[in-house]
Symmetry: C2
Subunit: 339 residues, 2 copies
DNA sequence: TGGTTACCGGAAAGCCCTTGCCCGCCTGCT
DNA sequence: AGCAGGCGGGCAAGGGCTTTCCGGTAACCA
């Protein structure tokens, strides 16, 4: 790999001059030299050593992003928003998948701090785990004190700014819709218990129930892991435990789609016999049959806003919180309760 | 941000000793010192400056990945495989989205080279563009000469190793299947003309036609851009131009799903009146109605294999090529041609 | 013509870390 | 008691780049 010194030598100038030309420093340089240097750069295919550069400049340019799993459409969509804004600002994004492992999340925070990222964006639900939360908050605070910026998506606590979708309201909307359509025995396919997203959505559902003098008994809640297949399995379990269910509310679209598949395989008509709802409004939600009634979260926008918060140092270290609304999307998978 | 010097000072040792303790160098160090240093690290929340470290060590550890768009399920799946292997090897992955812009792809190669990535993985179709191809090959060769490793997924030319799905065979399988079911007037929804993936799949389709003494006239080929909505639009155009079509072969699943949606909106029965096929076997393919007949590519595995090639320096700079088979997946969206 | 100013280029001091080399000191042997 | 041999620790030389500061030249003014 060519170095700056080599370029300088070839162009017959000092490294200082070469550096100034290459980086377009404000310091004026004669045209003749500029051309010689640029020619040398071209011939040697010189690219500045980014590490040496950021060491010398003490500047941080990359942005670290920690998500649960990029290949999950939920995070893919958030990431799209993040990337768009980052690219507009000429920032490189380093994406890390925690695969919902709190320990790995902590490791990645360290790793990204070591890489001198200018900002850290954590996307995805927090965990119900005191120790973890404390450890994470600690690390993030240290990072912020070191001049880093932090933005989180979809979790409450912690240092830094936050973009928070109204999961509780989303759950409420689903509940309200199902009760309004006369459903009474509603099964719920929840996500992992450990995730705050799961509890928030459940809380909304419970509030809707309570307002109508109903409850959500534990036997009608099956915990799965946000994947399609776990959703199918949970639906089977719910139905086996209580064949009289008239609706199944899944706490994300993937699991709802799994439930749909299971119901189809059992010959159950949706929404004739059982209504099904999802959550998130993934692009596929409109393409399954019946099209999924669900709750929309503006995922890409949430990503974009988080990145904007992170990049825009104003209010630096502040604890700005941007709430994002949830919106009911009515399609075909939820109908009136059968009589 | 704490530096090694500060840690050393606090522990009352030289930076050299601190470094050795922190990195677990083979050089033996007294237990007492070790504890003092580790305590200092803890108190100062010290994390080694990754850039300084890699500058000093002259080692490259991160891996650069360039894809068209991570939030596209096709690439999300490939990325999952890439990440898995990278993580197993303790490598950090830097993902860049080219959004199918050749110029941006070139820029990213430079950027990643500047970041001293140990290897570069390019995923996604190549382009029919001589100048671009030459430029890219040039840059990749320079990179390899500088000791970098290159692996590409789904494109032929260039330096480095390659994992190549048999797109041509996939197209052939689709064609063979449709002809076998008696279809004659087959419309094709192709991807961007510029992409080699499009041409490869089309070539397969054409070969199937030719073997049966048929052809694929240009008017029955609509070019779209691999997205669902463009697929719907292309289906509309095909049908309007030639209402008698009995089958539509989309060159990826997203476009097939768009076509499905369009046909449903027009009240056309699939597969009763028109058969539809996809390509790639995305997870959603089995959840739409009717479930999509398509061609499976083992995307995650392709990613994993490419990363393995990239990491495994043996045969360094070699031009190893791993072919990956395509496999027909029969579901419900393709039936016999109506009489 | 002498002196001032402006301007351009280079020398060198870091940025933070790793590591080869050297140097004391203690141990153990003779 | 004297010496070899380890062992544990520090010194200092980079690794590639930026940037401050300084010096030399040329242009300009009086």
């Amino acid at each position: 790999m060519a170095t700056l010194a080599e370029v300088a030598k070839r162009a017959g100038v000092s490294p200082a001059t070469a550096s100034r030309i290459i980086n377009g420093s404000p310091k004026p340089v004669t045209e003749a030299l500029r051309e010689r240097v640029l020619a040398a750069v071209e011939e040697l295919q010189y690219v500045p050593h980014a590490h040496a550069q950021s060491l010398a400049r003490a500047n941080r340019s990359a942005i670290g992003v920690i998500v649960h799993d990029v290949s999950d459409p939920y995070f893919a969509e958030i990431t799209r928003g993040l990337q768009r804004v980052a690219t507009e600002h000429g920032r490189l994004v380093i994406i890390c998948n925690s695969y919902r492992d709190p320990a790995r999340e902590l490791e990645y925070v360290e790793l990204l701090r070591a890489h001198q990222v200018a900002a850290l964006v954590l996307a995805g639900s927090g965990y119900h785990d005191e120790d973890f939360t404390r450890a994470l908050t600690g690390k993030l605070q240290v990072y912020e004190q070191g001049g880093g910026r932090v933005a989180v998506i979809g979790r409450h606590q912690h240092a830094g700014d936050a973009v928070v979708p109204d999961n509780e309201m989303g759950g409420y909307l689903i509940g309200a819709e199902l009760y309004a359509r006369g459903h009474d025995r509603i099964g719920v396919i929840a996500g992992p218990k450990l995730l705050t997203t799961t509890t928030d959505r459940l809380t909304g559902l419970r509030r809707a129930a309570r307002e109508r003098g109903r409850t959500l008994p534990a036997r009608r809640i099956a915990y799965a892991d946000f994947t399609r297949d776990s959703g199918a399995a949970a639906a089977a379990a719910l139905l086996d435990a209580e064949p009289g269910l008239t609706a199944i509310a899944a706490l994300n679209d993937s699991m709802a789609i799994g439930a749909l598949a299971l119901l189809r395989s059992r010959g159950v008509d949706v929404p004739g016999q059982v209504s099904v709802t999802g959550f998130d409004d993934m692009p596929v939600a409109r393409d399954v049959t019946p099209a999924l009634t669900t709750v929309r979260l503006p995922l890409a926008e949430m990503g974009a806003r988080a990145m904007t918060l992170a990049l825009d140092g104003v209010g630096g270290g502040g604890n700005r919180i941007e709430e994002v609304g949830a919106e009911l999307v009515l399609r075909d998978s939820a109908g009136p309760a059968p009589r």
